[in-house]
Amino acid sequence: MQDAFDVTVCVQRVKTGDLSAANALIDHLNPLVRRIVRNHLPRRGSEEDLMQEVFVKLLQKLEGYQERAGIPFDHWVSRLTVRTCLDALRAERARPEWRWADLGEGQEQWLEFLMNQAAPAPEASSSDALAVVTQLLSHLSPPDRLVLTLLDLEERSTLEISQLTGWTRPMVKMRAMRARRKLRQIAQQVMKSEFEKPS
């Protein structure tokens, strides 16, 4: 049987400058960091570049990391990754316009379903739903996008989000509520563009 990876020992070795331990730590954290980065990647960002930024920050700040009772190392890493992603999202200024004409048939069905109470639930694929949901989220402000991705796509609790972002739980709830309201407005704008002829 393969020995379980001992994070505490590995972190201690990295702190002493052991490069092979640093490589092992990067490999161990790859799935966790990649999952968060993929879900919060800026539109034009490269997953690999953002992961590199996260790992460099992680190694730089590792010296200051102190294990606290009840708080696993993974939480510290998740928090650092989420904050790095939020910074990257904030750095992305331009959000290109999104119009009805840009949608595929399955995506149209999902948007129609979102905006039209009488529309039946689409049978379009989950990738179409994901495309529409991701597009809508990408038009929100970075903190709004972050909170809804964590809450609705990653199914994290408000307590977890509060720990990851440093926002209070009421703030998380309030932000999510406002963000959903904004999503509706964005979807309405896209629906309106269906009836607008390009000049």
Binding site: L19, N23, V56, K61, L114, S126, D128, L130
Partner: protein
């Protein structure tokens, strides 16, 4: 049962289906990734003050601004009090008291 689900309900439905389309993120790291990360780490180790600035920077700015506003408000209140509460007579009396009598 509500036959007309709200936007919130429909959004949740779309998010549930979207979750099924999310890829599992377990790809291997590309060749040279570790080397680049370690090279960057060793080239620029973080300074302790950078960490402190990152943690307290934003808060310190707000606290400083609040302190400036409070100090300004106190100064204004003090100046206003001085202007209206000092009796003119008192000043005259004080000045007269300083006139030498010899």
């Amino acid at each position: 049962m509500n036959s007309n689900p709200s936007f919130e309900d429909r959004w949740q439905r779309a998010a549930t289906v979207a979750r099924q389309g999310m890829e599992e993120a377990y790809a291997d790291l590309p060749l040279g990734f570790h080397t680049r990360v370690i090279a960057h780490w060793q080239a620029a180790p973080v300074e302790p003050w950078e960490d402190l600035l990152a943690v307290f920077g934003g808060r310190a700015l707000w606290i400083g601004l609040a302190a400036c506003l409070a100090a300004g408000a106190f100064a204004l209140a003090d100046w206003y009090d001085t202007g209206i509460s000092r009796p003119e007579l008192e000043q005259n009396v004080t000045m007269e008291a300083w006139v030498p009598t010899w």
